[in-house]
Point group: C2
Chain length 189, copies 2
């Protein structure tokens, strides 16, 4: 393959892995992934050591979009409280989409049941960054216990998106009041 | 098979399905299930129409233990608030076990990604019963909005158990303060 063809095959595999794993789960086969990407298995194994490595790379590549979609711009002039609410407003909006299946970074860890799997490690790091964002804002907003508030907000993020993903609940009228109660209790500005 | 042998094969299959699916995920093969249960595939298909039906039956059978372990006895004399806290104390205690992988009824729905699957339907019903318990207690305790409180408590249940299951957080120092804030905000007795 030329360098361009390699880049393109790599991108198509990453896209197929992200899309099909989200839709069908981590059990999706290598054949299905290669077929969806229009890439031979031989080429796939030239680009990625294993399906696990491909999955990890696809989660890694999605991480910047995950952050960009959820998190507010740095120094956007809003209060820490508003910046936290921004994340949950984005989640509420995403969770309304018919193909929403919850947070992909939570799902992959639940499905793999192996925290040492390369994809679990990526997912864990991406979500730890979300908790770190909450913690920094909590501190900026003079929360009584910034650590606790950050853990609570991540819990709400995961619980609400999981329940919306399985269609057990809708985020509307649930996420915002829950987050508000927690921010109030923490004394957040 | 005699009636006794059938009952025993059925029980072993249900046990194997519950244990292996929880540990390894819904992708576990029929061969592995039959091997663990010491039952031939032919016998399995005499007892269950499909792996999906076996999985659904195993979740159904576990439901009474799930309820008995989590929920307080009816009319135990405690306040609705204490009765709700009992559920979360039980969850906190369960989540401390090294083999805890989160709530099996949430995991199966996330993994199957198909809410019409027989096992998803069972799981959905079991969790809806938990929400109904919360709602009844919220009403008894004069919560301002019993529906909202019941949804919030189920969200915390799922979020906290999922995060403990993937070892992203521990329930200690997280579940109790979060539930307390929500009960207080709802004006629960």
């Amino acid at each position: 393959m030329t360098t361009d063809a390699k880049a393109s095959a790599r991108e198509r595999l990453l896209e197929a892995a992200a899309t099909l794993t989200y839709r069908d789960g981590v059990g999706i086969g290598v054949d299905a992934l290669c077929k969806a990407a229009g890439v031979s298995k031989r080429s796939m194994y030239q680009l990625f050591e294993s399906k696990g490595e491909l999955l990890a790379a696809s989660l890694e590549e999605r991480a910047s979009a995950f952050v960009a979609t959820l998190l507010p711009a740095a120094d956007d002039g809003r209060s820490p409280r508003e910046r936290i609410m921004h994340v949950f407003d984005q989640l509420t909006s995403q969770a309304g989409a018919p193909d929403f299946q919850g947070c992909r970074y939570l799902a992959v860890q639940i499905e793999l049941k192996d925290q040492s799997h390369p994809a679990s490690r990526v997912a864990h790091r991406v979500k730890a960054n979300l908790t770190a964002f909450f913690r920094a804002e909590a501190e900026q907003g003079d929360a009584g216990d910034p650590d606790l508030l950050a853990r609570q907000l991540t819990l709400v993020f995961d619980g609400a998106s999981a329940r919306a993903g399985i269609k057990a609940d809708t985020p509307t009228g649930l996420i915002a009041p829950t987050v508000t109660v927690l921010l109030d209790a923490a004394g957040m500005r």
